[in-house]
Each structure stands twice: as structure tokens, then as C-alpha cells.
Subunit: 354 residues, 2 copies
DNA sequence: TTGTATGCGTTATCAG
DNA sequence: CTGATAACGCATACAA
């Protein structure tokens, strides 16, 4: 019983079953036609040898590879890991597997990852593009015949399906709610970095979801009669220290800021911690709304009011669209907007006056 | 300018550069020897045609596939997504990519996933095995020459490197600390399911980390003179409702339970919420220690005392070991234990008496 | 240094 | 229904 070190191939099975390679291949691959007797002999031989198909070779022959590439900003972030779970569950049902990559929200890494995945000949790509204005690498994928779906973000230049939340609308809802409670000076805090630490032109914001929300913020604040809404958009909350300083600036702001919007759950958590560290109580001293319903926002007291972004659904929908494209759907690319309602729990209170 | 629909191959480049396929392959693949002039001509041709290597074909030829399979219980859980990030970062540095799968902590799915990944001819496997006693599928991978590293869990029967936390020791540390504060009746809450809802034989617990911790729990409690420590191990906290009922049983327990240990951060969060919903304050009315330093445990007041499991490091180490194996390290498999210290923040108080 | 020929494990074509 | 045989795209032993 001499074992070849590598695993048995169709040829080995064919030999063992005393049929031709073609016949063995047909029954093992489950295609073409084979007699019951042939089928039986081959299956038995395969069992005996412990045959395991080689999907690499299969992909080479067919040109199809049951692998889908996923590129997110940060898999560690629950926002994305939940989305990945949605993608994974949906893909699995269609017999597809998922290669996952982290861009760390850096364009250069994203470009590199796309290239790597394309080399692996993935069947399709689901990407949270870090810069909506630089999508040539994604266009190239499309041209090469690899369908692309963007998630959480939208790149108008890219002829691909996109799954997004109601970025513009949600901020409108939140601001209306706050204004109804008497808030006029509301701060929006986000993590974006710029050279000078200031909010520049909106068109220079790469992540479309961020851009949309800031645009909506400025628009609504202006409509509400706030003079320089840009002064109320605080960027650069990239880490703990940076957030500390942002919160300091917010608390020292004049006229007084009475409510804070956190653009994602990491920032929300940091802001919350800062506020409680300073002995402020919510919502009496400050109102707070965070985007994404993370675990932490349900254990604080009071619980945090959040804009609920159901990213598992984002992922599901993205995977569904990709599968549709893979199955030949050639309809024009479409933007799918997933509802992101405001869950007002306990951190929106009346504006603190004086 | 007639375009072939599929992407150009070495043959195309060779033709364009007017050299042999072998020469083109050598410079494109970066192996063997080629003259500078040849190199130049080929690269130019490749550029002109937009050549992208086909890693599938490359893997077929070489037998190596720059893909590593990762199987975790639940990518949505920060415990695992953090580990995956560690794996991903480390793997990337070694030019490896990662295919990720969810077992949902079900053996059948894990077996299926291993099979799928092996078919893809992954270079190696990093797995959090859902049942340490059923690892034949992993043994098979090993036999087939695919290195395996287990993460968070250890399967003694499996001759593979394992990366684990200090499961046994950490519970000892926690219990000593609690006992020092006067606690005698401490509950351990975990998610494991059994047929009858009762803690059966320890050997029947599949997830080794869970088994180790419960074993350590029982041992220490017994040493401390507690009569039926098994009565204090509450299993089946699998969801919100189940946790509610567990907490109810804990609060009604006699003799009174004065401290709760939560075996992971999901359970910890649920228990915390249950306790606050009932108006109990920590640590006056109840002490609480959770495993894993999740986001939420730093925003509560007081902050939660936790056993810090640095899963990013788990992932890093696992990837490092796998890479070593891939590079030919044939030393005997080893168990690597990552320190998991107790971060005592604010939820261990003196035992409530009477 | 370069070219020729063959193999990797499948799928797929086309006679028998 | 079955069996030769040729792809698929790249790597590589060997010859030139």
C-alpha cells in the first residue's frame, strides 16, 4: 500500500476503477452522462482512495472560481464584521467562499488588495471603497468582467451596484428631532483626517458616507439658521487623545453646544467616555446620538440614542446583488438604500439653556 | 486592435515581446535568469497588454497557494474579529491571503468548511475547533500535508500548534480575588447547551476553553469549601431570554450568590443589562467579572472588571506559527499560552452579606 | 541566456 | 454511454 504524498486525482481514481479518465471525471465532477454502474464503480474507487476534488484545477478549467473578495476598512470594527457575517451567510448559501482583506481605509492598500484578489481570479468583489473619487482599480475589475458591489459607500463614477444607508436622510431626522427639543448648536464629530485639521471642501472627502452626512449636516444647520455650521463639524477624532481634544473644544465652544453627533460607534464610545469622565450626565448636560447600534450603546445608562445601521443587512443585500450579477443579471447598476432609523433611547434631552 | 475578452497570458506577452514563452514566464514570474534586454522587452510588452498574473495557474504549477483558511465560531463576535485582524495583518506581511469561514460553533459546519478549504488547496488552516474531541477532519488535513494551528482552543489529540489563553489560571486568579473580598458563592455563566440543560460530565464539553474554565471553577470552589460547586455553574445562556432566566435563577439562589463570572463578553453584556434592569447596582449588590475586554465594558459605570484576552495577539501568534510551519519548521507541536490578566476595574466589591 | 517540451488536475470536445 | 485528447496558464527540466 504505497501512498503518493499528494492527494489522489481523477486519474488515480480512474485507474483504480478501471475506467477512462473522462468517465471518472464526469461522475466525480457531476456533469455529463454516466451509467449507474460506472457511477458506482467510480464512487467506490474514490472513497477507497479518499479522493478530494481540486478546486484550483477546476477553476482553471472552467474559468470560474467560487471565491468572492471582500475589502473592508477594518474588520475589527463591529460595523464591518457584522456586514461580513451577512455577506458570509448569504454567499455560503450560493456555494461561494469569501476572501477577506483589510484596507485600513487607505487607498493604496485597497488598490493593492484589489490587484491581489484579481490575481486570485475571484468571481466578484464586495468593497467599501475608501475614496469614491479614486475607483480606477475597481473600474478595471469591472472591465475585466469581475462584478463589483460597493457597500456602505457609493462611487457615482463606478458602474456598480451600491448598498448604502440613508446617510443624508438620517442626519436630517436626527437634527429635526434635536431641534424639536430646542437644540440649535449641535456638533458633528467624525474621524476624517485632513492636512490642516480643518474641514475643507466637501468634494475632498473620500468616504462617501462621511461626505453625505457632513453635507446633510451643513445643509440642515444652515436651514435652521445657524451661521457657520462648518465650525460645528469636528473632524480628526481618530483616536482616544484626539477625541479628548475634540470634546474639550466642544465643551469650550461658544455659543454653547448642547448636543453631539458621533459619526460611528467607535467615536461615540470615546465621546461618551470623555463626557462621563468629566462628570457630565446625559442627557441633562449634553445630548448624544451615535451612528451604529453597537453593543456598548445598550449597556450605558441611559442607553444611547443611535441611528441604527443594520450592517448585517447591508452585507446580505450586497452579497445578493453580487450573486445576481454572477448569474448574469445585466440590468443597469443600482443604488440600494437600506433604512437607517433613529432609535431614540435615552440621550436626547431638552437643550440645556444658559 | 482586437481584444481577447479574457486577460492576457504569458503566451500573449511572449508573442508581443517576440520572445519564447519560457523567457516571458521567467521575467514575469521573477524567477530563473534573464538578460536585462529580455527583461525590458517583456516588461514593456506586459505593460502594453495590461498583463495580470493568474495566481490560480501559478498555484497549480507550483502546488503552493498563497491562501490560508481561517475558521472561527462567529466573526461577528469582537473576540474573533479582533483575532482575525491579528491573523490578517501578520499573514499579509508574509504575502498570504485569508479565506474566512464561520462555523457558528457547529461541528458539522466546521467539517464542511475544512473540506471546502482543503479543496481550495489552502496552504494552511487556522481554526478555533468547536469540539476538541472530534478533530478527525483536522487530522486529515495534517496528514494531507496542510499545517493546522488552533486558536483559543486546544485539542490534545491533534498534533498541531495551539494558541490559548490562561483559561485555568485566569479563573483561579479571579476566584482568589473574589474570595479575598469575602465572596463564597460565585456563579459562573456560560453559553454552552446540553440536552437536559444541566452541566454533565466535563469530558462532554466540546470547546476546550470552556471546559478548562469550568474545570478550574469547580476545582477552586471545591477547594474553597463550597459543597456543590456544579450548582453554581449556569449553562445555557445562549440568548437574551435564556440569560434573563439564568439571572433570575442566580438571584433566587440560596445561599445567596454575591458575584457572577461571565464566560464571554456577549454574556457579560447581557448579564450586566439584566442586573441594571432590575435596579441592582454594581458592585454593591453584585460583583461581576467578564471575560474579554470588549468595548462595552469600558463605558459602563462602574467599568467592568474583565479577564483581558488579547485576541489580536492570539491571531498574530497563530499566524506566526502557521508561517513557520509553512516555511518548514518541523519541531514538535506546541501549546502557546498567552497571558490573560485580570483587569480589576470597578465591579468587584466586598461580598454583600445577609 | 534562451527555447522546447512537458506537467499540474480539471473540464470539455469529439469521435467511437 | 464511453474513451482519447486537447485545452486552461503557468512553472520547470533539459537541451541548445
Amino acid at each position: 500500500m504505497s501512498e503518493k504524498s499528494s492527494s489522489p486525482t481523477v486519474a488515480d481514481v480512474a485507474r483504480e476503477a478501471k475506467v477512462s479518465k473522462a468517465t471518472a471525471a464526469r461522475v466525480l465532477g457531476g456533469y455529463g452522462i454516466a451509467s449507474d454502474s460506472a457511477r458506482r464503480v467510480v464512487m467506490e474507487a474514490a472513497d477507497r482512495l479518499g479522493y478530494q476534488p481540486n478546486d484550483l484545477a477546476r477553476s482553471m478549467s472552467t474559468g470560474r472560481s467560487g471565491l468572492v473578495g471582500v475589502i473592508v476598512g477594518d474588520i475589527e470594527n463591529a460595523f464591518f464584521s457584522q456586514a461580513v457575517r451577512g455577506i458570509s451567510d448569504t454567499l455560503r448559501a450560493a456555494d461561494l467562499n469569501l476572501i477577506i482583506s483589510n484596507s485600513s481605509e487607505r487607498l493604496s492598500e485597497e488598490v493593492e488588495m484589489v490587484s491581489v484578489l484579481l490575481r486570485q481570479r475571484v468571481a466578484g468583489l464586495i468593497v467599501a471603497p475608501t475614496d469614491s473619487r479614486h475607483v480606477n482599480h475597481l473600474k478595471a475589475a469591472l472591465v475585466a468582467g469581475t462584478p463589483v458591489v460597493t457597500i456602505d459607500r457609493h462611487a457615482p463614477e463606478l458602474a456598480a451596484d451600491a448598498i448604502c444607508g440613508e446617510d443624508r436622510e438620517s442626519i436630517g431626522r436626527v437634527l429635526s428631532r434635536l431641534q424639536g427639543a430646542g437644540h440649535r448648536h449641535v456638533a458633528y464629530v467624525t474621524a476624517m483626517e485632513t492636512r490642516d485639521g480643518k474641514l475643507g471642501r466637501l468634494e475632498d472627502i473620500g468616504i462617501s458616507a462621511v461626505r453625505e452626512r457632513i453635507a446633510g449636516f451643513l445643509e440642515h444647520m444652515r436651514e435652521a439658521g445657524v451661521e457657520n455650521p462648518a465650525d460645528l463639524a469636528f473632524i480628526g477624532a481618530t483616536g482616544d487623545d484626539e477625541t479628548t481634544s475634540v470634546v474639550t473644544r466642544i465643551l469650550e465652544h461658544s455659543p454653547p453646544i448642547t448636543a453631539i453627533l458621533a459619526s460611528d460607534s467607535l467615536i461615540g464610545a470615546r465621546v461618551f467616555r470623555e463626557l462621563s469622565d468629566r462628570g457630565l450626565s446625559l442627557p441633562q448636560d449634553m445630548s448624544l446620538v451615535s451612528w451604529f447600534d453597537a453593543d456598548w450603546s445598550r449597556v450605558t445608562s441611559p442607553r444611547i440614542s443611535v441611528v441604527d445601521q443594520p450592517t448585517y443587512q447591508f452585507g446580505q443585500k450586497a452579497a445578493e446583488r453580487l450573486i445576481a450579477r454572477l448569474q448574469g443579471d445585466a440590468s443597469p447598476p443600482k443604488l440600494f438604500v437600506i433604512p437607517t432609523p433613529l432609535l431614540d433611547r435615552g440621550t436626547i434631552g431638552p437643550a440645556k439653556t444658559g
